[in-house]
Amino acid sequence: VENVRLLDRLSSRKAALGTLYLTATHVIFVENGSETRKETWVLHSQISSIEKQATTATGCPLLIRCKNFQVIQLVIPQERDCHDVYISLIRLARPVKYEELYCFSFNPKLDKEEREQGWKLVDLNEEYNRMGIPNNYWQISDVNRDYGVCDSYPTEVYVPKSATAHIIVGSSKFRSRRRFPALSYYCKDNNASICRSSQPLSGFSARCLEDEQMLQAIRKANPGSDFIYVVDTRPKLNAMANRAAGKGYENEDNYSNIKFQFIGIENIHVMRNSLQKMLEVCELKSPSMSDFLWGLENSGWLKHIKAIMDAGIFIAKAVAEEGVSVLVHCSDGWDRTAQVCSVASLLLDPYYRTMKGFMVLIEKDWVSFGHKFNHRYGNLDGDPKEISPVIDQFIECVWQLMEQFPCAFEFNERFLIHIQHHIYSCQFGNFLCNSPKERQELKIQERTYSLWAHLWKNRADYLNPLYRSDHSQTQGTLHPQMAPCNFLYKFWSGMYNRFEKGLHPRQSVTDYLMAVKEETQQLEEELEVLGERLANLQKSQLNDNKVKSKPQDRSKQLGLSTSNNSLANTPQEYSNDLKSFPSRSPSQGDEEDSALILTQDNLKSSDPDLSANSDQESGVEDLSCRSPSGGGCLPSEDSGKDSDEAVFLAV
């Protein structure tokens, strides 16, 4: 569709005119314009909702909201075209079959072996070995080898040595969805462990010998403690209500040597609504400080984040400080349980704070333990009541921790944002379907590519320059401050306002420091080489000793200067009285904008894929040279060319 306008959400005055394309996998907006044909690519998988708004004199507005929080406002001149686009997008954004998803057509031009290698990058058996398992207390069990015991669990699970197949099977019959207690994390220093399951089918009075034996087995696997904690991450009221449905929670009278604890994290419906409310706050036009803070509090979002974090902290403390094992569950043991186990693991073990370790963590607690990616993130069209930002909350917990402990993580914010992006993008096969069983049936590894390999290949973009493996912050357990610490939870505008460039610092400190680090390394290497050469020269020529060149001014070479061009930005509208100023001529703003040249040297594009597919700078690509199965992997939100007017409406 031609003559479509793409509006800037903050500045209604600024709109780009261009052509809208719909392909099998993407929506693409290409700006008209002589030199720069800026493109905006959106994967259908990312589309969360489409809103057709009332036709105005200028055309028919269409609002596309994405799961990665990008909001695209289009104005289509003809009502009929708008309607067609709307209907098409509705269909395209709600695929019915997996084969419709982008991962099955995405072609990064790797051969079969490279694809395979990519999938092998993260190996869970290796991970459990790293933990020290199998050992005297824990063993690997293949009781679920054909998914016969639990269809949402992996084929290989780790259980206490004294848990026989009989006990496992018996326990699974007493657990919701058959999700019996299995190992998530083992601390070899003190034998304490984190196990996870779903709720017991205890009702008001039912018992199950094998399930009780299972918990005993977990306790016995830790000789250092004579009891285990059983942590139910639900609010007490919800758990009690479940009893009426024949489920519930562990009765301390029936299970010997357990200490039971409710933690009170709300369910997926509450979280879905919470996010919705928070996004509504983000969409307010020129909110006051008051509107924003009230809106944010009203959404309850940060409160929920803190609840998840507090649960993780409780479990980490139990393991690290008390040396007591913990069994965690919620209702079905695939949402809150996953969140809380992974937060706890992250706090406990510095390995999970490395890039590789983090991928392993997600693979372990989310992918292998059957988190329902399809239902939660809407790969396919499904029940809207199943949709919930569960993994988003976990990812935010990690970000909150990164803000509190800037030196403790090997990866940076961009890593988290890209992972979140790809969970929804369905460009890679890792997060498809609802369980390992479904993924196996679909032969995901043979037909799609692994995100981990892709991220690993580009890991230079994802490093945290402040990370040092020998730093005190990276050693051992992280101890987030408990109270008072409400203020420590910040609104993550890097994620929820990701595409609003006016809100973010023009230049990334992370990128700058990475460039500094790289350059220092290069210089040190050069220094070594030169030192050796000098030594050799001195040896061979004792008489003539012409001292050569003076060291050059290196900083100029690398163009590390952060001044001038890269920092130009434009003011938002500080005045609500638009009549104060005559409408600004475009040339005024453009002078500085055009000076904003993003050079690849010192400011890496956050979107390496675009440069992989095209020789041109990210964000500026000739549509004709893009292969149909290629395509931008990520919206170029960090591209300098996109510097635009963030419109500041008045106080």
Binding site: L503, Q507, P571, Q572
Partner: protein, 324 residues
């Protein structure tokens, strides 16, 4: 950019030829200027009853008046006190924290101050017009706006030395009554009539700028905290008294030492420098969206929570930059 106090128009709409001529000479032929009045239109009008007022359009035809009310005086001090109380209150749950923060209004004041300063800067930089800033007395919100606008506009005000010069000019010499304004601070029950944290508000706004433009200020948070401390209680005479006249009478220059002299010693100085600093010749336009304005944890939680991890991060940054 000019600053003054309010014109004494009074209820009878007095005129003053000299004042009109003075403002007239500022503008070139055909040029127009903006007057940014830091009181609401209502408050400015009411000021006439007590002898003050605004510049009437008819007498100052080439000046366009804009009202941008900024909080000052008692209400600002209350805002400060409430915020400090909220920060110290360990009993607040997460589900009440933000509304409590909001009820203090402090962040709204930061947003308003930054917006107004940006407006003044925009008048000059984008509209290429002269600006006159005044409130009532010209000693509080006026200085907040003019000083902040200069940090935004002028790279030389962002250097360590330049910033000190700015403080000398726009706060100290300009007659901000430090002695009255920075008296007992937020814990005191005294509730003095003349006390108000304008200077702190200014420092908070500068901190917001440093966060949004991490490479553009030559100094870091440590300097801002030191200035905050010294405004209230100091070994040095720099912030003493309320104006130059009093400082002369008290013989401050003869009997005390200057804070700047101490800060600028090579040994001291490096504590205040920003390792990421790189001269930025351009104007820095901050975002005043609520998401962009954060609570200054380094100040308000200074004694409540450990800054260890953040300090370690800064040490690491310094190490990286120096190693290069």
């Amino acid at each position: 950019m000019l600053r003054s106090s309010q014109p004494l128009t009074g209820p009878n709409r007095k005129r003053c030829r000299e004042d009109e001529m003075l403002l007239g000479t500022v503008l070139d032929e055909g040029e127009r200027g903006f007057i940014i009045d830091t009181r609401s239109a209502q408050a400015a009008k009411q000021a006439r009853m007590t002898g003050g007022g605004t510049e009437p359009k008819s007498s100052y035809p080439r000046w366009r008046r804009l009202h941008r009310p900024l909080e000052r005086g008692r209400p600002l001090q209350e805002s400060f006190i409430k915020l400090v109380e909220a920060c110290n209150d360990t009993s607040i749950n997460m589900d009440r924290w933000l509304s409590r923060l909001e009820s203090c209004r402090w962040l709204s004041h930061v947003k308003a101050a930054l917006s107004t300063a940006c407006l003044a800067a925009q008048c000059m930089d984008r509209e290429e017009a002269s600006v006159l800033v005044h409130g009532a007395e010209g000693t509080d919100t006026t200085l907040l706006v003019t000083a902040l606008a200069q940090v935004i506009l002028d790279p030389s005000c962002r250097t360590l030395v330049g910033f000190q010069g700015l403080l000398e000019r726009e706060w100290i010499e300009a007659g901000h009554p430090f002695h009255l304004r920075c008296a007992r601070s937020a814990y005191s029950h005294a509730r003095l009539k003349q006390e108000a944290p304008l200077f702190l508000l200014f420092l908070d706004c500068v901190w917001q700028l440093s966060r949004q433009f991490p490479f553009s200020l030559e100094f870091g948070e440590h300097l801002l905290l030191t200035l905050f401390d010294n405004a209230y209680a100091s070994d040095y005479g720099t912030f003493l008294c309320n104006n130059e006249k009093e400082r002369c009478l008290c013989k401050v220059k003869e009997t005390t030492h200057s804070l700047w002299a101490w800060l600028n010693q090579p040994g001291e100085k490096k504590k205040y420098l920003n390792p990421l600093y790189s001269h930025n010749a351009l104007v820095i336009w901050p975002s005043v969206e609520p998401q962009s304005i954060q609570l200054w944890q380094g100040l308000f939680f200074r004694w409540i929570r450990s800054s260890q991890y953040l300090d370690e991060a800064w040490a690491e940054i310094e190490r990286l930059v120096e190693g290069n």
